[in-house]
């Protein structure tokens, strides 16, 4: 899984844990080499780094008890839990009233489950229909409306790619950089079919700053 997505998913999980249990003040996840994998904003960088350094100093000397699995510090005003989760460590700082059973569920069940899920899930790539370069033909007259017209074949191709019944809107981008989104219909003039054209109302042409015969990039609008 993409590292950024992984970090975002873990950060969201930590945020939700803090939302559910307000007694948890700070939380972050770091790798064995000390690299921070996910951290919620309340935890400042300096504290995080010092904490990791303190933890690593114990981990280095923990061979006598097997590898270090967890480290708990219970203070008069709160508690800190550092727990091994797969190849990473979860750090949680909570107030003295925090429910210990809940904290143990978080460290031993919730976060390991999230990590396991993230490791087994492969995100489905977004289905992106390729944009087409089409030649502009202008539509003029009182009744042209705001819709553009494109070949039926192209619309059917996009619909199939996106697993949709049909395409109702498209994004048009001129090479000058102007872009807009319009409703789309099939080309109704049989002479213009199959020629790689897009018929655009004059008003929309002005918006895009394009003229008849120029090329524009067109793709289905994301829904």
């Amino acid at each position: 899984m993409n590292k950024d997505l992984y970090a975002v998913a873990l950060k969201n999980a930590l945020t939700e844990i803090m939302n559910i249990c307000p007694d948890v003040r700070r939380s972050f996840i770091f790798a064995k080499d000390g690299a921070i994998v996910a951290r919620v904003s309340e935890t400042d960088e300096e504290t995080t780094e010092k904490m990791i350094s303190a933890f690593q100093s114990i981990a280095e000397k923990a061979d006598a008890i097997g590898s270090l699995k967890a480290f708990y510090v219970n203070g008069k005003k709160g508690k800190v839990i550092l727990s091994s989760v797969n190849d990473m460590y979860l750090a949680l700082a909570a107030s003295e009233n925090a429910d210990t059973t809940y904290l143990h569920s978080v460290t031993r069940v919730i976060i390991p489950t999230v990590l396991k899920l993230l490791e087994t899930i492969t995100p489905t790539p977004l289905q992106l229909a390729p944009s087409k370069q089409l030649v502009v033909d202008t539509l003029s007259g009182f009744f042209v409306g705001d819709s553009v017209q494109i070949d039926t074949k192209i619309l059917e191709e996009w619909a199939e790619l996106l697993n949709q019944k049909g395409i109702s809107e498209v994004e048009i981008e001129a090479f000058g950089g102007k872009a807009t989104q319009c409703r789309v219909k099939e080309i109704n003039d049989s002479k213009l079919k199959g020629k790689g054209m897009i018929r655009i109302p004059e008003k929309v042409c002005k918006t895009l700053e394009v003229k008849k015969g120029e090329l524009v990039k067109v793709k289905p609008a994301s829904t």
Binding site: M51, I58, F71, V73
Partner: protein, 116 residues
């Protein structure tokens, strides 16, 4: 009774109780370190140095972490390994580390030692 004598009595009480719990199932041993002396009783004497270093590091790290996260004076520190854990507590000016198997209830142990 002066504070110093009271403290001495507390430590002596703990030492007596440590003698009574050291043969319990799952207890590996203990290190009680004072400013000038230390009592060590471990089932495997070859591990004395490793355990002493680890227990000292755990105290230091625990106190550093407590300061960083502002959780106040440290009551207890638990260091968990694969099969073994260490309960670390300060008893007056002495640092007590009890080594035990992971399945031992350290909260009950604290009660039995009057450390709660």
């Amino acid at each position: 009774m002066s504070a110093k004598n009271k403290s001495k009595n507390n430590v002596e009480n703990v030492q007596e109780k440590l003698q009574s719990i050291k043969d319990r199932e799952g207890i590996i041993g203990y290190i009680l370190r004072g400013p000038n002396s230390a009592s060590i009783d471990l089932k495997d004497p070859t591990k004395i140095i490793d355990y002493a270093v680890l227990s000292a590091t755990a105290f230091e790290a625990g106190q550093d972490i407590s300061a960083m996260f502002e959780i106040g004076e440290v009551d207890s520190i638990i260091t968990e390994g694969e099969d073994t854990k260490i309960l670390s507590r300060v008893v007056n000016e002495h640092r007590l580390s009890i080594f035990m198997e992971k399945n031992v209830d350290h909260n009950k142990l604290c009660k039995d030692l009057n450390l709660t």
